[in-house]
């Protein structure tokens, strides 16, 4: 797909802001909360357009989630947004007790997920957020692959009642999709058909997976490439049928492999149709300062790492 093509890069934050502006003009129930990061995340554009429906609570994430719960209880659809190091980092309790337990219509959009955050270092990177959010009942967990996917999945979250955790990345990322991909919460997107193995990825790792698919094809390995943007509820039916068809899976994610996408895939495959699963992801370690691409390379999060895992998996059969 990428081959010699020039890859379009774009920002998930821009896509978030555009989606919120569009939904905000359609739906007066939509409100947005920020915690002193709204300029960075660009929800300040919503604040400029709809000042009566934007609330900046300052650097107080727990309070922000509690207020969002109250707004939802009074009929609003709050989107709360800050960096993923702090939401969920500083407010697991509020997400659990005030949002997920009563199953409220609160949409948590956390930007700057994973290690791709870059030079800010480990304190501002997240490897654990996905596992924590996935383990909370009622909560849907979504990680879009690029800006167009972000736009569509934010709209999907607005259409779908109940709480969401949507994780975005800081850097501009390669566009996997054209303008408006047809994505549905809870349904994977098959990006390339294959027979020898399946590569199931989420977030920025989807573009790496596609690149890996190209390389593998040159070596006569046919990889099915799947964007599993919804980690919960996982599209178990499709994933099990892909396991049946290909006989082996590589997962690719930009977070700790403990409790992430690989774990989610293993949870469904192991009981229905066990096949070998190789997990590409952060191997239970914190990140560090560095540039986006340098960090992805150092922590084993590139197409090369996926190719290596895929070849090993195929060779072992």
């Amino acid at each position: 797909m990428f081959g010699l093509m020039l890859v379009q890069m774009s920002s998930m934050r821009d896509a978030l802001a555009e989606a919120l502006l569009e939904l905000g003009s359609k739906d007066p129930k939509l409100v947005v909360l920020g915690a002193d990061t709204s300029v960075s995340i660009k929800t300040s554009l919503f604040a400029d357009r709809f000042p009566d429906r934007f609330f900046n609570v300052g650097i107080a994430e727990a309070n922000m989630i509690g207020i969002a719960a109250g707004l939802a209880l009074a009929g609003k659809i709050p989107y709360v947004s800050t960096y993923s190091a702090f939401v969920p980092g500083k407010c697991l309790d509020q997400i659990r007790n005030a949002v997920a337990y009563p199953n409220l219509d609160v949409k948590i959009v956390s930007s700057h997920g994973g290690v791709s955050v870059g030079p800010d270092g480990a304190s501002h990177q997240t490897v654990e957020d996905v596992a924590a959010m996935r383990a909370i009942p009622h909560l849907r967990v979504v990680i879009p692959a690029d800006a167009p996917a972000t736009r569509v999945l934010i709209e999907e979250s607005w259409k779908t009642p109940g709480p969401f955790y949507i994780r975005l990345s800081r850097p501009s990322v390669p566009e996997v999709y054209s303008s408006r991909p047809d994505l549905k919460v809870g349904q994977v997107k098959v990006l390339r058909e294959g027979t020898d193995l399946a590569i199931i990825a989420c977030g920025v790792m989807v573009s790496e997976a596609l690149e890996a698919g190209e390389s593998l094809a040159k070596e006569k390995i046919s990889a099915e490439i799947i964007d599993s943007h919804t980690l919960k509820p996982l599209d178990a039916d499709t994933i099990v049928s892909v396991a049946r068809k290909t006989g082996g899976i590589v997962t690719a994610e930009e977070q700790n492999i403990i409790g992430g996408l690989g774990s989610a895939v293993a949870e469904v495959v192991s009981s229905s149709y066990p096949v070998p699963i190789s997990m590409v992801g952060v191997r239970d370690t914190f990140g560090e300062s560095g540039e986006y691409k340098e960090l992805m390379a150092k922590y084993g999060l590139t197409s090369k790492d996926i190719v290596r895992a895929a070849k090993k998996l195929v060779a072992s059969r």
Binding site: V57, G58, G66, A69, G70, L73, P102
Partner: protein, 275 residues
């Protein structure tokens, strides 16, 4: 709208009934939190039977006043009050804390009339702010009340919320602090000193009132003064006694979370009825 306000002279009787329910339901459950339930009885009576606009037949009525029990461990006083108001049958109270009951150890949305699942301390005031903001956006005149424990004030989120409510000019929000002076491990002033409490809230730009939390007239007057504040939230520090009405529970931290046995409760209820 259902008539929920009762004559002032009848409020005391409601308080006795609710105290009785609390003791009986805790004895039946064999666990739960009597101290902080008994200290808040008159506060809930003033709200549910005098001050608040609500309708037990329409718990989701958009124009209702809202009550958030942030100190969710006082679930028995909320359930007993909701039962007396007609949200749930009084006979259901004895299912508190039992498997498959709607009456959980801490309140949640299974019970009509419960506005917020309080329990994990520190969140309720934030949620009440959200409800009050929604009321302002929708230009509705409903009021939001949040009952906080004084031990609960140890939680940092309370103070995040305390900063936010005046910023958003929430005259439609009233926080009430059940200032009974005791938390699970002992006296609040020993565990984590809160005084000067009124000054703290004043410094956070709240309209601050202090009342005897068992004097219905004082509580109601304060609630009415709060209503007159257009653009400023009010906090009512209600001075109370933990375990109020049961001599051996009063001022004893042990009764934060220890249920009385059935025989004891029988005697207590008998003596309350005679009073």
């Amino acid at each position: 709208m259902e008539q929920t306000q009762i004559p002032f002279g009848m409020l005391l009787q409601k308080a006795v009934k609710i105290r009785t329910h609390i003791l009986e339901m805790l004895a039946e459950a064999k666990s739960g939190h009597p101290g902080g339930s008994l200290s808040a009885v008159e506060i809930l009576v003033s709200l549910y039977f005098y001050k608040m606009r609500h309708d037990p037949k329409r718990p989701a009525w958009p124009d209702r006043d809202r009550f958030v029990l942030s100190k969710g461990h006082a679930a028995p006083v909320l359930f007993a009050t909701l039962a007396e108001a007609g949200y749930i049958p009084v006979s259901e109270l004895k299912t508190l804390r039992k498997l498959n009951s709607r009456l959980q150890g801490h309140p949640d949305h299974r019970v009509p009339g419960v506005e917020f699942p309080g329990g994990s301390l520190g969140i309720g005031l934030s949620a009440a702010i959200g409800m009050a903001l929604a009321g302002k956006i929708d230009k509705k005149d409903y009021r939001v009340y949040a009952l906080l424990g004084d031990g609960e004030l140890d939680e940092g989120e309370t103070w995040e919320a305390a900063m936010a409510a005046p910023k958003f000019k929430l005259g439609n929000l009233t926080a009430i602090i059940d200032r009974n002076g005791i938390q699970q491990d002992g006296l609040t002033e020993q565990i984590m000193p809160m005084e000067p409490l009124a000054y703290k809230w004043k410094a956070f730009n709240w309209h601050v009132l202090e009342v005897d939390g068992f004097d219905l007239r004082q509580v109601i007057e304060a609630l009415e003064k709060a209503e007159n504040m257009r653009n400023r939230p009010t906090v009512i520090i209600a001075h109370t006694v933990k375990g109020k009405g049961v001599s051996f529970m009063e001022w004893d931290p042990a009764y934060h979370g220890k249920a009385p046995d059935k025989d004891t409760v029988k005697k207590l209820v008998e003596s309350m009825r005679q009073q």
